[in-house]
Amino acid sequence: MRTSRQEVVLGILIAFEIVLFSFTGQNFLSLSNFFECIRLSTEIGLIALAATPILISGGIDLSVGSMMGLCAVGFGAMWHDAHVPIVAASLFALALGLLGGALNGVLIAYLNLSPLIVTLGTYSLFRGVAEGITEGSKSYSGFPAKFLFIGQGYIGSVVPAQTIVLLLAIVTFWILLHKSIIGRALYAIGHSAEGTRYAAVPVSRRLALVYLLSGLSSGIAAIVYVAHLGQAKSDAGTGYELIAITAVVLGGTSISGGSGTIPGTLLGLAAIVLLENGLRLSAWPTEVAGILTGVLLISTILLQRLFERHSHAEKAVKRESRSRDIAMVGAMTLTLIAVAFYSIYRHHSMRKFAAQEENGRRRVTIGVMPKSKGDPYFISCRIGAEKAAADLGVDVIWDGPTGLDAAQQNEVVEGWITRHVDAISVSVENAASISTVLRKARARGIKVVAWDADAKPDARDYFINQATTQAIGFTLLDEAARVMHEKGDIAIITGALTAANQNLWISFIKARLENFPNMKLVSIRPSDDDRDKAFSEAQTISKVYPDVRVMIVISAPAVPGAAEAVKQSGRKDLNVIGLSLPNLCKPYVHDGEIEAVVLWNTEKLGYLAVGAPAALARGTFPVGKPTFDAGPLGMLQVDGSEIILGAPMIFRKDNIDAFNF
């Protein structure tokens, strides 16, 4: 099989990445990092491998990520609720995958519907069913160690266990696509499905097969994912379909069908994984990886076109376009060189800075991770964290997923372990899934602190608790009761149905409700942390449930949305009690739509999120003592392994202006 130009270009790109990141990324060029990359790429790899024959046949499958979610949840439910043995539960998950694949297959292959639209529909449907079954929030964990080994264990203490799965998948798809007659039929179908039909090839059967395989792959990926994270939740695999398609297209597969290879897909996958990993180890923020992936994709297409035009063009056109093409190639090469130089320069200046000695001590590096970089709540925590970094003279790497993403949190921590930071400080999205990797960090001598939301107690040194979830839940409801004189209906608007701590708060609100017999909870609606959606939900709630007096809104971005809805409705008998940032709510608090904002001092929380691990790393933390001197924050209580910031704060009209975050 001839190596296509695309594969050569990718090879050069990967080599470039490896060389660049070996300079700028700490411990990038190590065996353990290499295997970590393989671990990271297994789940995506399974999906990308299955996506390759689909794209080659001229189709597309956008439902793979959602299928993962459904299979994960099915697996968890079978094992946990139905007490089915783990092997049988796994088979059930695979069967679900096949079923989903069959649905796509029948609609696309036999009914001739557009693959884009069908899989767009199943993309919603599968994820929706997963969310529906688990009511969005249920997550299964506590799987037996033997099972978790698939995703977390090492063979010979170096090779991650899921490598075997990946290798098997690679071999299977390679044989299918490049060696078997089915593969040949798929390429023909991709070029012309109609023409292939006339050649007495069972086109529908072949197409149905690739979608079936895709569903199966998603099922397998789901099992590996669950074993990797230790939890099965409906949001498994979110966004994977796009990464997979990016990898496949990067690898030279044409969207219109008829061309593409498995080695190409693997190279495309490698390029993306190495990019993300290398950038992380070089302490670039995660957004850069996203931007560069986009740039990479576009550059790939440009190059593809360049080569095509060059070979097909007429001589006259060639002469004209040659100078244009040279200009393009020149521009791209210069850009790459510029990027390389800048990265190396940046790395060196960071290293110089880091190597500074301060009072004879080496500069401490702390990795601080919020649950979601985009949430205004965490943005205000960051201000505190950076202040602490300046005060204490430590280097803070502030990084994390851009949305709620337990899997990505794991990846970030893995990167920090490879980089060998001094301490890790995490606001945990899901305790079960992150604890394994945190334990690994501790085993390597890295100090681990959790803040805002806890990991498993044995996975971290300390937990910074701003206020107990119970206190928060109770306070919210008490405020609501106060406003509505303990009589009437309430509704709750939460963030994502899958957010763990929000669900905890809800459970405490419900518990506290029993103290108020004349109050009733009529509805809980998600806002997906989207201001506009919260606005709509609040509007509709106020119409459907006219007896609602208070809406308790527990997602920071959602509160102003709900408040705006109340404002625009003109109703004076409806109020919002929110859990949000003062700045977002000030106008509404003054105006009267929001009666009270419950929170705690997020800047203090952020400050402590750096202060505590810094002290631990430097060895100045008073282990075993009941108090901790947190500098400008004063003396804080230490209860076992919990550092308590204080009670929730309530911001009202009279005091909210004093705060600026």
Partner: protein, 496 residues
């Protein structure tokens, strides 16, 4: 003098397509352009329409030199081309298609629908087409689309009209109609460059004829001063033996029998037909009579609603092309480029596509076997191509057809259905295919030949079935068959 080409040269990747071609077209003349495939006709047309730039030589229109020709420019200058595959917009109406062709609407202007429709109405009536101007092109038949193309050309009032195989998908009636229009255009002073492989047509419609061979103009003659044999000799460069070799093959047992076959959606009714081993049965009829639809139904591409099919006496259920193949049928489709071959794949892949199972060991494709078998067929059928790895899209029409044939011959069919097998193919290749058919008949293959070329069907068939409006109206023996009788039957008048 309307259009002149002087010393046109054109090479593709070092291969000379046109060596030095000079040609002239006068106003008020129908100038036929003939030549084998690969002789350079399409390249020359592309030079005229501006789709391609010549490496040397010049074009003159009305005596003025035309430089830097491109499709838009040629269009504006009044050079119009009508191709075999109508370049129409399927989702748009007939009126809109015509209007876009005239291209005189500024981009930001408001569209004048009533005028568009009226003009289309006028043009369509003029050419005797009963098509509604509001009809979407996707709902039209091939014939109707061809007529719309002609209406377009009329609308544009081109001075030079290039017609590339215009009668390829037309039946007798429509061909006569077309000729009437062509003569009218000629009377109006247009210059028509007429490309066709059907020599008898040229003698009917053309004034002069130019023969191209291997990228050269080997001669331009007045049509009345030349005979078909001379033309063939000029095209081929040597005497061709009998064009139509008809061997007498004693027919064997009945290979294929259709009894009361109906195909509801296509209004195919009550088809009764029997073909014996070694027999060539011609299926004649006007375009739209349902011949291709019948073939596709036999081959399992569309379901049969009623009736029975018997292969060698045994009843068979054919629900898919695969069933048909397994029953011993093979079908070489009419649309060569889209159904006969897959253009983007190499010759070897195309040849083996219908018989992949035979090239597989444990499901794994044996590429070496594939290559050698493809090579064998390449030699046997004489594909003109550098190797079996050449992409099929780079072959000429005739060679593509050979690849399509090879694909089906590999399957060693008992019954071979050929649908317009020599459409758009030069004389030399045609002859090769006829010889092939004869050899197959000798070997006992039962052949159903669907063709619109009267001479072809008359000379090759042992029997001729005539189809009209979805039914077989009559079957004629070779002795009884003549063009008039066939035409009469095709028009729907049954034998008494």
């Amino acid at each position: 003098m309307l259009l002149e080409a002087n010393g046109i040269q054109k090479s593709y990747d070092g291969v000379k397509a046109l060596t030095s071609v000079s040609l002239d077209l006068r106003a008020g003349e129908v100038h036929a352009l003939i030549g084998e495939n690969g002789a350079g006709k399409s390249t020359l047309i592309k030079v005229f329409t501006g789709a391609v730039q010549p490496d040397g030589g010049e074009i003159r229109l009305h005596g003025d030199r035309v430089d830097n020709n491109n499709p838009a420019r040629a269009h504006r200058l009044g050079i119009s081309a009508i191709y075999q595959q109508p370049a129409l917009f399927p989702h748009l109406s007939v009126a809109e298609n015509i209007a876009i062709a005239t291209g005189d609407e500024k981009l930001w202007r408001r569209v004048d629908w009533p005028t568009r429709v009226a003009r289309a109405e006028h043009l369509l009536q003029h050419i005797g087409a009963t098509i509604s101007p509001d009809a979407l092109v996707s709902s039209l038949s091939m014939v109707e689309r061809q007529l719309v193309e002609i209406a377009k050309a009329l609308a544009v009032e081109a001075s030079v009209l290039i017609m590339d195989e215009p009668t390829a998908s037309l039946g007798q009636q429509d061909t006569r109609n077309l000729f009437r229009i062509v003569r009218e255009l000629r009377a109006r002073g247009k210059g028509i460059l007429y490309i066709s492989h059907r020599l008898e047509e040229l003698f009917e419609i053309a004034d002069r004829v130019t023969v191209l061979r291997d990228g050269n103009n080997v001669g331009t003659r007045q049509i009345r001063e030349v005979t078909p044999e001379e033309l063939i000799r000029m095209m081929v460069g040597r005497e061709l033996e009998t064009l139509y070799p008809k061997l007498d093959v004693p027919p064997g047992e009945v290979a294929l029998e259709l009894r009361g076959v109906c195909c509801e959606p296509f209004e195919i009714r009550n088809v009764n037909l029997a073909i014996r081993h070694g027999e060539i049965v011609g299926l004649a009829g006007l375009v739209g009579s349902g011949r291709t639809q019948l073939a596709e139904a036999l081959f399992g591409l569309t379901p049969i609603s009623q009736g029975n099919i018997y292969i060698e006496g045994k009843g068979v259920q054919i629900r898919s092309p695969r069933d048909a193949l397994q029953a011993g049928l093979a079908y070489v489709p009419e649309d060569r480029r889209h159904h006969g071959v897959i253009l983007e794949m190499p010759i070897s892949s195309n040849v083996t596509l219908a018989s992949l199972n035979h090239f597989a060991k444990h499901g794994m494709l044996q590429r070496r076997a594939e290559r050698s078998v493809a090579q064998w067929w390449k030699d046997r059928l004489r594909f003109n191509a550098p190797s079996v790895e050449t992409l099929t899209k780079n072959l000429s029409g005739g060679n593509q057809q050979k690849v399509a044939l090879a694909r089906w011959l590999i399957t060693q069919p008992k019954i071979l259905i050929l649908d317009e097998p020599t459409q758009g193919i030069d004389v030399h290749a045609k002859s090769e295919i006829y010889h092939l058919m004869g050899t197959l008949a000798e070997k006992g293959v039962a052949i159903l030949l669907i063709s619109s070329e009267m001479s072809e069907i008359l000379t090759l068939s042992d029997r001729i079935a005539v189809m009209a409006k979805g039914e077989i109206v009559s079957t004629l023996g070779q002795k009884d068959a003549n063009p008039d009788e066939i035409l009469r039957l095709a028009l729907g008048r049954k034998v008494s």
